[in-house]
């Protein structure tokens, strides 16, 4: 891999821009790999990258049904944060956030981490103590969090016009300054490039359709291009984990739901933070402005199981309406694009990183609508589980057995109804 640097840029510039290499190598499919990672999205590529960099596991193949980064890693709203209440969650996501801070250097690829602050708005007098409780839990864990009253919020985000009369008046906010956005395509390209440079082989257009096993261990995977032997198998399959469960004959505690997002036409700098506005039973929105100027926003799930990657009009309307309620000045903007991602919603809203049925099959899935921000931590921790056979402390709580034993991590407190709002 040719490293990117100011000198490399200058050298290529003097040669008329020639001499750049493809980010990753295209490889033919082999008969077998020591580790097969299923899914070339954020979690799959990060897991492969850490397996190759931090552990000795032999030859690693990443099999992807479509294209690198075609799934949810390119469909999210690019927000990263670690402002969780439960210790199991905030320590894990804080590990991810620390890795985001140095990821561009670690991958030698500019992922455009922008610590522009994530602001959770309080919409009633009762919201503020709830946010204060979450902020205090974070601060006890050494994570940055600040509670802002209305005057401080007005200074922080003057363009919000916080005192403007609204159906749900804003009363304050919880701010995590190190939270922000990361360019999601750059993340997947950076991981693919770094993994490929370490010898990881990435095979596109190769769909895994089944698992073959003998004597209590998996021996390989059936794919759309034939059988592939595998010493160990990691499924990082985002919204298709129910299909993985079906392949292995395991019922999983998850439902597959759709989440939509949209982006407006680009405008000059208007919003330099990430705003999160949740009015239960009314509307929900998280919004930020991309580097190109478009306002990127999303809301709640469509509300019922679907794997169509096609969203419902009523949700789009609801997101747009809530956005205009929050920031009336964007009401005249046109929507440029809308899309949907397929989310595996677990019954407690927390992910599943564990063995699945066989000792040499691993699952890195169930990320609900929060998978993007977890990528660097999930890759490192999952790689360690796969390589050593022991789950690091950081992901002990994400075992599948937590449901049967009653140790669920229900951050929002909804119970086993992930589509509820």
């Amino acid at each position: 891999m040719r490293r990117y640097s100011a000198l490399a840029l200058l050298r290529a510039g003097l040669r008329g821009g020639r001499g750049w290499q493809p980010l990753w190598q295209r490889q033919p499919l082999r008969d077998g790999y020591d580790v097969v990672v299923v899914g070339a999205g954020g979690h799959g590529l990060a897991t492969a990258f850490h397996l190759a960099r931090d552990h000795r596991v032999g030859r690693i193949g990443v099999l992807e049904k479509r294209l690198v980064g075609y799934g949810n890693v390119g469909r999210n709203t690019t927000i990263v944060r670690s402002n969780y209440l439960l210790p199991e969650n905030h320590y894990f996501y804080e590990d991810a956030l620390r890795r985001w801070e140095t990821l561009a250097r670690d991958l030698n690829y500019n992922v455009m981490y922008s610590p522009r602050a994530v602001i959770d708005l309080a919409l009633s007098d009762d919201d503020l103590p709830a946010l204060a409780r979450r902020g205090n839990a974070m601060r006890l864990a050494g994570i940055d969090a600040e509670l802002l009253d209305l005057a401080a919020l007005e200074r922080f985000v003057p363009q919000l016009d916080a005192r403007r009369p609204r159906r749900f008046p804003i009363t304050g906010a919880l701010v995590q300054r190190r939270g922000g956005t990361v360019r999601h395509d750059a993340v997947v390209w950076g991981y693919a490039r770094a993994a490929s440079a370490l010898g990881v082989e990435i095979i596109e257009d190769c769909e895994v359709t089944g698992v073959r096993a003998a004597a209590g261990a998996a021996t390989g995977v059936e794919t759309s291009r034939g059988y592939v032997r595998a010493g160990r198998i990691v499924f990082a399959t985002a919204g298709h984990t129910a299909a993985v469960g079906a392949m292995l004959g395991v019922a999983l505690p998850l439902e597959t739901h759709l989440l939509q997002a949209l982006v407006t036409e680009p405008v000059k700098p208007l919003l330099d933070t990430v705003l999160v506005y949740v009015a239960p039973g009314h509307g929900e929105i998280y919004i930020s402005q991309s580097d190109r100027g478009g306002l990127v926003m999303g809301g709640h799930l469509d509300g019922y199981p679907s794997s169509t990657q096609e969203g419902q009009w009523f949700r789009l309307e609801d997101v747009a309406q809530t956005a205009v309620e929050l920031l009336p000045r964007i009401g005249g903007l046109r929507v440029l694009r809308q899309w949907a991602g397929v989310n595996d919603m677990t019954m407690d809203g927390s992910p599943l990183i564990d063995r699945l049925r066989y000792d040499n099959v691993f699952l890195n899935a169930g990320w609900c609508y929060g998978g993007f921000k977890a990528i660097p931590a999930s890759g490192a921790a999952c790689a360690r589980l796969v390589a050593t056979g022991t789950a690091p402390d950081l992901i002990q709580a994400y075992r599948l057995s937590r449901f049967a034993s009653g140790h669920v991590l229900d951050e929002p407190g909804y119970g086993p109804y992930p589509a509820r709002q």
């Binding site: 479509r66 469960g245 169509t308």
Partner: protein, 94 residues
Amino acid sequence: MTTPASHEMPGAMKRLSCPFCGPRELHEFRFHKTLPSADAPASVFQRVYERSAERTLSIEHWQHLGGCRGWLLVRRDPSSGAVLAVRLLDGAAP
């Protein structure tokens, strides 16, 4: 390369047909949960947390919240959005 073609999708579901009220806009209804596969043994854990894993068939509880408030048993294909059957939720097996 396999590229997706959204026009191949039969389209998102737009309405549900309530046995009392007839065809109504989807936003009148609230989805509650999917049921575990029919052949699964029903321990408390499985009944509470496990969900159906079939790609083309989902058996679900819905409520016509913005209408007659009746509870419905809906069979759908989540891979296409097609509604296969709707009936009132009674004591009978799904």
